[in-house]
Symmetry: C2
Subunit: 210 residues, 2 copies
Amino acid sequence: VDSTPRLARRPTRADGRRNYDTILRVARQAFETKGSAASMEEIAQDAGVAIGTLYGHFSTRESLIEATTRESLTTLIAHGELIADDPDPLAALIDWLRKAVDFCSTFRGMVVTLTQGIHDETSHWHTGCSAMERCGANLLSLAQASGQVRRDLGSRELFDVVSAAAWVRENSPDDSDGSSRLLELFVDGISTTSQAQNADGFHDPPVSER
Amino acid sequence: VDSTPRLARRPTRADGRRNYDTILRVARQAFETKGSAASMEEIAQDAGVAIGTLYGHFSTRESLIEATTRESLTTLIAHGELIADDPDPLAALIDWLRKAVDFCSTFRGMVVTLTQGIHDETSHWHTGCSAMERCGANLLSLAQASGQVRRDLGSRELFDVVSAAAWVRENSPDDSDGSSRLLELFVDGISTTSQAQNADGFHDPPVSER
DNA sequence: ACCTGAACACCGTTCAAGT
DNA sequence: ACCTGAACACCGTTCAAGT
């Protein structure tokens, strides 16, 4: 028996495919405006299908969230593999970390689902989460090999850093703009290069002084 | 009109006070085992009162959580004031940060309620949260004045660091033991003293190598 | 294969009546 | 002043019946 749950799949029949696509589109919209706890009933209604149809395609909320963000995750990982041969591994790592935080902040509440996914092997997310962690682990070890990042750091900790930064961004209004102040602090703590210098070579003033 | 909601108060009448105390005791227990989303109904039942009685004393879940942890918060702040005149302000700051993370991890889900509290002025928590933030801000500015901590750091960011570390601890099984690896990374990123050295003067190996 | 929606389950919160 | 618990509201999920 296969313990990993089957991911949502686009149906073959025309009407099913139509519904599947509409639900996905509506769900994306709903999650973005109301967060990952958006009402299933409402999504079904807005998609013009009965609630049972929604559950027919996406057996759990988590499965729907997964399907909704599958593309972005694939893109993130592809990008991570692409920049793996960057001459400056630290720059590549930082670049990827920022994009990873962006991904985890696709909508409110997503980062919670994601972290649950990585710890729960029966989760619809687990495969995706693991791929993401592996991708970060690769960039990390490259940066460590080049001596730019301290070696006492594991890939799980990197994942924690990313999710923590994403969590702060969605919970602290001040941090909701593009850059994650927390991540930059992390980067400073991680790198072995001259301390008190982030990737841009300077520190931003605290929010309260802008 | 006073917009800040009245905190839960111990009633004067004997039977009311008995119920109030029992509810508080049961709630503490329930939150610790089931997290801050523990069923109100169950708490009332276990306390041997009707659900209406619970709401009579604690108008919202948040109010109950606040009352449940009020003592610890007071202790945390008192401690922060006590160590403010430590000859080593950085050590004092770090000590307090660790205790603050502990406090925010009193039970699962608490840190979410807390961060909402600091951003929402109508919250039952807001007064407590602000006091906590002020306490940290004080220790921070002392450490900054002594040149041990970089100056481009605000108190809100410190609060974010604490809550992020607490959030990771309650979401990542690896980090659930006493120390918060994330916090230590932060500390490294914060301090102006020789990089790649935390307060103990060395780095712990990553979890995966222990 | 896929869709439907009534039915079930569960839980938080309120409020009129009681002591 | 405080307590009671039925009643209300809301929402997620299932499943027997239909196309």
